[in-house]
Symmetry: C2
Subunit: 169 residues, 2 copies
C-alpha cells in the first residue's frame, strides 16, 4: 500500500511525504494486517491530518486479490477512524477528472499531472504512490476553502503488499 | 458481526459467551470499523484465546455489501493479529462437514447441531452467531489434541452491522 502526505499553502499543493507500506507476502494475514495498521497509524499520528481520502474500490476479476485489498482497506479506514480522521471516498473517474481535467486520462497522464501539481522533480514510484497523491489532489480540489492549509490523509490501496497513501493539504 | 466463545474440556465443547457486535448503520465507515475493532479487541482480551477461526469469504452478487464485509473482516483479523492470536480459515463446505457430517447440510441442520454439540437450551440467535459457533466447533475438531482445553476465537462476518464470533475450546 502506497502513501503520501500533501500540504496546501498559498493556493499551492506540496508533497510532504510519500512512499509505500509493506508486509511480508508469506506471513499470515492477521500478522500482515497488524504490520500495515501500525505503519498507517504512525503516518496518521506524525502528520495529524484533519481529513483523509481514499479511492472507491470496485472488484475486479480476481476475487482472492479483491478480498485481500478490501481487508487492508478496512484496516487503513480503521486507523483513520481510531485517530478521529474523517475519510472521503472518490471514484476513479472523479479522480481522473479532478487531476487531469478529463475522465479518459491514462496512467501516464495522471502521473505527469501529479508531478506537475505537486512540483516534484520526478514521478513518484511505485504507481500506487502516484495514484494516492492523485486522490489527495482530488480531495484538496473538492474541499475548496473548507480545508485552508490543513492536513489531509488519503489512501490508494494496491494489490496486497503494494501501497497506501497519506496527504497534507 | 456475531461472536461466540467456546471452551473444550474433558472431550466436550461448551459455549462460554456469544452474541453480536453492532455499529450504527448511518455512521461513516471509519467510525463503524473503529467501534467494531474495540468490541472485537475487548472480547479477545477478555477470553485470551490461543487460536482463532473464521469462515472464508466468497463474494456474492452485491459488490458493495461484499466490500463492506471484507473490510469488517480485515478489522476482526487485525484485532486477533495485534493480540497475537493466530487465525485459521475454513471453507463453508468444510464447516458443514465438520458440524453436521455432510456438506449438503442446510442452515437449520447446522443450527440444531450447534445447539446439540454445545449443550445449549436453544439455538443461538441471530443466524450469524450460530454460524460463528459452527466455525469454532470446526476449528476444535480440526485442531484435535493440539488444543487441549485452551481458548479459540473464531469469526463469522455477516452483512454490515450483523455479526462476529469468538470461541474458547
Amino acid at each position: 500500500m502506497g502513501y503520501g502526505v500533501v500540504v496546501q499553502k498559498d493556493g499551492r499543493l506540496r508533497a510532504l511525504d510519500y512512499g509505500t507500506f509493506t508486509s511480508k507476502a508469506g506471513d499470515p494475514m492477521e500478522g500482515r494486517l497488524a504490520v500495515l495498521f501500525k505503519q498507517v497509524t504512525a503516518v496518521v499520528r506524525k502528520w495529524k491530518p484533519d481529513s483523509a481520502a481514499m479511492e472507491e474500490l470496485f472488484f475486479a476479476k480476481n476475487v482472492k486479490t479483491a478480498m485481500a485489498v478490501a481487508q487492508a482497506r478496512g484496516v487503513a479506514l480503521l486507523a483513520c477512524g481510531l485517530e478521529g480522521v474523517p475519510v472521503t471516498e472518490y471514484r476513479p473517474l472523479g479522480i481522473k477528472q479532478a487531476v487531469a481535467g478529463f475522465g479518459g486520462a491514462d496512467k501516464q497522464q495522471i502521473q505527469k499531472m501529479v508531478k506537475l501539481l505537486l512540483g516534484l522533480a520526478e514521478v513518484p514510484k511505485p504507481d500506487d504512490t502516484a495514484d494516492a497523491l492523485a486522490v489527495a489532489i482530488t480531495h484538496a480540489q473538492c474541499s475548496g476553502n473548507r480545508l485552508p492549509s490543513i492536513a489531509v490523509l488519503g489512501a490508494k490501496p494496491g494489490k496486497p503488499g503494494k501501497s497506501f497513501s497519506a496527504y497534507r493539504l
